[in-house]
């Protein structure tokens, strides 16, 4: 939201100059002026005052050939600036296609996988039986219905992802803040290894750059996540490698290589296009647990033994 358009890499200030009692002139950035428009108050978010010696510019990074690369905003360290509010546009397109196809509301609402989700998944035979059982008789136990964070890659790929997510890059971490159930992933870039005794719904993420692609290695899953409401699932041996590549100012090419040797015959890949949300849009918090009243209505045939109905 607060990126500068046509941003030139700014020389990095390496010295922390102590300023005593300096009165900073408040400056309104060009981007904010255009984004917010009209008469705006002084934005104190952008204090000026870059007087003084600047450190020399760091050498230009290697830029891979890509469409419209000149419009990709970059941070002072040369990496693409992924910051802002994004949504899964491939999912959105899938939803619109279902609506237009006249398949009927039930299918349009239920069948939400983007085209880049390679159905059917290559299950091992026993795992496939489990998938079938969960789909037909046990959707009550989909953890998303119980307000759990969706896990990786579900939080990016599934309909919940039509809710936007915010990316912030603060030099040591890339942080993704999802509107959906205020899920958060803090991704360190310091090269540290995955922890040993740590089992999480969202796993443990470690990121690094390969050229202009941000690569995230995710492991340490707790085996409780599903992939959708149709019984597709993973277990505790899931391992994911995500790749985020900006193809233009408003688009990110996203792939997730998913492997799970106790569930699938072979690894498989999701491929999505993420698109930037309109400038005025912001996260509108979506809680779940605090007001959840739905799963009590699931019937017994859906796995809710507590409901006296079939």
């Amino acid at each position: 939201m607060f990126r500068r358009r046509n941003r030139q890499p700014r020389p990095r200030q390496t010295s922390h100059r102590i300023r005593r009692g300096t009165r900073r002139v408040l400056k309104i950035s060009q981007f904010c002026r255009s984004a917010i428009g009209g008469a705006i108050l002084a934005i104190v978010w952008f204090p000026a005052g870059r007087a003084g010696a600047q450190a020399p510019a760091s050498p230009a990074p290697t830029v891979q050939a890509r469409e419209d690369t000149s419009s990709i905003p970059r941070l002072p360290d040369g990496h693409p600036d992924l910051q802002g509010l994004w949504h899964n546009d491939s999912g959105y397109q899938a939803m619109m296609k279902n609506m237009r196809s006249g398949k009927g509301l039930a299918v349009a609402l239920a069948d939400f996988h983007a085209e880049g989700f390679p159905l059917p998944l290559p299950y091992l035979p026993e795992a496939d039986k489990v998938r079938e059982y969960r789909k037909l008789h046990d959707v009550y136990h989909d953890p998303e219905g119980h307000c759990h964070v969706p896990g990786v890659p579900r939080e990016t790929e599934q309909p919940s992802s039509l809710m936007p997510f915010q990316i912030i890059q603060d030099e040591k971490y890339v942080v993704i803040l999802y509107e959906y159930v205020h899920d958060v992933r803090i991704i360190p870039e310091d090269g540290s290894p995955h922890p040993k005794r740590y089992w999480a719904w969202d796993g443990d993420s470690r990121g690094h750059w390969e050229g202009d692609t941000f690569v995230v290695d995710v492991s340490n899953f707790n085996g409780r996540s599903w992939l959708d409401m149709e019984g597709n699932f993973v277990d505790e041996n899931e391992h994911v490698v995500e790749r985020y590549t900006m193809t233009s100012r408003d688009a990110i090419d996203y792939t997730a290589l998913v492997e799970d040797p106790t569930v699938f015959i072979k690894p498989w890949t999701i491929h999505l296009t993420l698109k930037r949300n309109p400038a005025k849009d912001q996260i509108v918090y979506y809680d779940c647990h605090e007001g959840e009243r739905d799963v009590q209505h699931y019937t017994q045939s859906e796995g809710n033994k507590a409901n006296k109905h079939e």
Partner: protein
Amino acid sequence: MFLVFAAAALWLVALSPAIAHHSFAAEFDLDKPITLHGTAIKWEMINPHSYLTIDVKNEDGTVTRWSVEMGAPSALYRNGWRKDSVKVGDDLTIDGYRARDGSNTIFGSQARLADGTRVLGGAPRNVPPPQPPASSSTDKPSNP
């Protein structure tokens, strides 16, 4: 025709986060549409779903309390809804789908206030239609 798609898109944008958290088809029966006329008792614009509680007068004069589940506040908010959009005592007509478990619960797909304002499935009359998520090649925002 395009406007129909655009309107449908807006409606689905409002609807989809509602189905994200749980399986819509598991809870509601799309083969059992229903229309209710009632008086608003309570409007809870809460997460993960908003709830409208209404009292419906039956033909025999008795009153039945119904719970109308609606979209996520974030979706409603982006469509111009606020905490005070529905007041206690407002008369409403609601189209929706019955819950499978037989309870007096429906999912509300469209609500109309007595004054004719469409309050769900589209923006209220005095609020310009919102933009759908960032541009795709096939969908443009509808004009106010």
